[in-house]
């Protein structure tokens, strides 16, 4: 029986990892292409959750989940055009400061508009409840969430690896100068990557809002986990981030099974161990211009 319990935690951890992935992938993408650690990534997650609630209030839950990432993606265009773009070649400290400041501003704006008290958020009653398969129990809503994550992940992978858009982006990660020499302007690609990144964060917020609490500091809370995942996975590696997200989810679940109090600490221990043996992360690529 013990083995089944453990296995149940492992599977549940994989589901949770899928959700971390929505945030971590965007964070990793923006870093690999622009060289910017976007500390405001969590803010887009929070804005996504708030907007989906607002939209869902008027047009239904599904509309909120679809339209909120679109709206945040549009916000991402402004973010890239007027802010991030100025910092691609600047000292990394500057972009850290700017995005950190932006995260704080965003949190305060959310607090001013919607108040510090959490907003009530619930999933449609039809999605509540569980599905059992043998000894395993799954939340119906989380299975749907996992399916959505799989679709997003596959779409992103195809986009990056099977289209000309993806080829330019990947070339731009390694040798931006060469891409420029070939007469390709990287800037529109950068805008697109940032839009994709923040929109997937917003999708995470919209989907996770009904499970947890929609409150102004939710972005800051989730950033830590997203970061740990990116660092463990290795910057610039698509599969590294996927692997790390699943690993963090599983390690957390298994730790809570044996030592509940250590549950939240487990991912930092994991990060520590990975960095000790693989300083570049699990599947981190060597990116020349960041060395």
């Amino acid at each position: 029986m013990q083995v089944v319990f453990l296995l149940e935690q492992v599977v549940n951890g994989l589901v949770l990892g899928g959700y971390y992935l929505l945030l971590a992938l965007g964070l990793s993408l923006i870093f690999s292409v622009g060289g910017i650690v976007n500390l405001a990534h969590g803010a887009f997650y929070a804005i996504g959750a708030y907007l989906s609630l607002e939209i869902g209030h008027h047009f239904g839950f599904g509309a909120g989940v679809v339209l909120s990432p679109v709206a945040v993606g549009l916000l991402g265009i402004l973010f890239e055009r007027f802010l991030l773009r100025r910092f691609y070649t600047a000292d990394p400290i500057l972009s850290l400061l700017v995005t950190f400041g932006l995260a704080m501003v965003a949190e305060q704006v959310l607090r001013m508009v919607w108040g510090a008290a959490p907003l009530p958020s619930a999933m449609p009653a039809a999605l509540k409840g569980n599905v059992t398969a043998g000894d395993f129990l799954f939340s119906r809503y989380r299975l749907l969430l996992l399916a959505i994550v799989l679709v997003v992940m596959t779409a992103l992978w195809l986009l990056l690896h099977k289209t000309s858009f993806g080829r330019v982006v990947r070339a731009g990660v390694q040798r931006p100068d060469m891409v420029a020499a070939l007469g390709i302007r990287l800037q529109p690609y950068m805008t697109a990557i940032v839009v994709l990144g923040v929109a997937s964060a917003a999708l995470g917020g919209a989907l996770f809002g009904p499970i947890t609490i929609v409150h102004p500091a939710m972005g800051t809370e989730i950033m830590t986990v997203a970061f740990v995942v990116v660092v463990i996975g290795g910057l610039g590696s698509f599969w590294g981030v996927v692997l790390a997200a699943l690993l963090v989810g599983v390690v957390r679940g298994v730790t809570i099974h044996f030592a509940p109090a250590a549950g939240e600490a487990s991912m930092y221990v994991l990060m520590f161990l990975v960095l000790m043996f693989r300083p570049r992360g699990l599947l981190g690529e060597r990116i020349e211009r960041f060395e």
Binding site: F5, A117, P120, N130, I211, H215, P260
Partner: protein, 408 residues
């Protein structure tokens, strides 16, 4: 800034010898009160209500001419965490020259502030912290406690659970917030279950920053208890009840701590079970009705229990200063220790028990209204009658002197 004020005071003292008008000036200097409460983190939502409540009391008192003819100046700040709370308390005493300190929701922060207050021989009115230890082994002469302690919360909800046959002979699984308050709650709950024939089959610690409860939910399912009794705090409770509803587990849920703001945030259809509270906005007393009406008019939503408790706390301080005609710490302590009565907008008045400085007052169990009975999104909680009942002593549910570790 400081030197200017000192010069002003010296000047005033000198002028006092010469003539009466300066006396008037010294009298009209504001009474400064340092107010610390968490405005961020897992208790931040409650802190926002706390500030609204104390602000309302301040405005009312000042509009009515202040206390002893002096206006109140309440400086509210985010206490962040126990370390920051402690250093801010020290700064408020040393640099801002506050008359007294009040506030807090986080029991661990209340503990550090109470130590600063004792060291500096200043009064600290601990408002929303509910740990038993604060009133027990960590009690001190300078700290008074307004909220109900965890023992009262456990007894208030526990009695209702016993009445419904959910304790005796039942297998109980607990989740406990991993900090001072949660540990205290867990201790009181275990004692209560043992005394009432319940069997505790598990108690898991949950870090305060946990937002995903799914691994815990799986453990609950594996244990197959009769009752899930939670000792969680702040956002944790909301996250837990929402995800419990999401997973659709069949076991009964109850808990010993749920603030109305956290219940509201759970959203309709997610909450169930029996919980305790110290006050609620549907309380049918003239005082509570007037307060709720004024608050709702100002903020567009009903007051949460932390808004109420901060409101009455400042009124308690105002009454004490007014009655003693003084802001002197020792005189205020003596007044509270005389077990003077305070209007808490409840059916019965409350008093600070002289030997452990905690306020004796009524509490209320609550459940959730049946589906479709809620008038609006604030209206899905169903509040029970006050405990102790009107014919019982007010300190019935509080720890007895024999059980308390408080020595002043």
């Amino acid at each position: 800034m400081n030197t200017t004020r000192r010069h002003l005071l010296q000047g005033a003292a000198f002028a006092g010898v010469v003539g009466a008008p300066a006396l008037l000036r010294a009298q009209t200097e504001k009474i400064k009160i340092g107010h610390l409460t968490p405005l961020t983190g897992f208790l931040g939502a409650l802190g926002e209500y706390a500030v609204m409540g104390i602000k309302m009391a301040t405005d009312e008192i000042n509009a009515a001419g202040g206390v002893l003819g002096r206006q109140l100046d309440v400086m509210s700040e985010d206490s962040v965490n126990p370390q920051v709370a402690s250093s801010k308390a020290q700064r408020m005493i040393e640099r801002d020259n506050v008359t007294l300190l009040m506030g807090e929701i986080n029991s661990a922060s209340a503990l550090t502030i109470s130590q600063v207050a004792a060291r500096n021989k200043k009064l600290f009115l601990s408002i929303g912290a509910r740990s038993d230890a604060l009133r027990g082994k960590d009690c001190n002469r300078y700290t008074f406690h307004v909220d109900i302690p965890v023992t009262v919360m456990v007894n208030a909800a526990g009695q209702a659970l016993v009445r419904d046959g959910m304790v005796k002979g039942k297998r109980i699984f607990s989740l406990t917030a991993d900090y001072l308050f949660g540990h205290d709650l867990s201790k009181a709950a275990k004692k209560f279950f043992a005394a009432n024939g319940g069997e505790q089959i598990g108690d898991e610690l949950v870090a305060t920053d946990v937002t995903d409860f799914s691994p815990y939910l799986l453990k609950i399912r594996q244990a197959r208890p009769d009752l899930v009794a939670t000792n969680l705090a702040g956002n944790q409770v909301t996250n837990f009840v929402k995800q419990y509803a999401e997973f659709g587990l069949p076991y009964a849920v109850a808990g010993f701590n749920l603030n109305t703001a956290d219940a509201w945030a759970a959203g309709e259809g997610n909450l169930g079970g029996i919980w305790p509270t110290v006050w609620h906005h549907e309380l049918n007393t003239p005082g509570s009705k007037a307060f709720t009406a004024a608050f709702t008019k100002k903020h567009g939503k009903p007051p949460e229990n932390h808004a109420w408790i901060e409101y009455v706390s400042l009124k308690i301080i105002a009454q004490a200063i007014d009655q003693t005609k003084s802001t002197d710490t020792d005189k205020l302590i003596a007044y509270f220790e005389s077990e003077a009565q305070f209007d808490l907008l409840k059916a019965r008045k409350g008093y600070f028990r002289s030997w452990d400085h905690q306020l004796m007052q009524e509490a209320y169990p609550f459940t959730v209204k049946a589906k479709g009975q809620a008038k609006d999104k604030w209206d899905f909680l169903k509040f029970g009658d006050a405990v102790p009942a009107a014919n019982q002593p007010l300190d019935l549910l509080a720890p007895s002197k024999a059980d308390s570790a408080c020595k002043m």
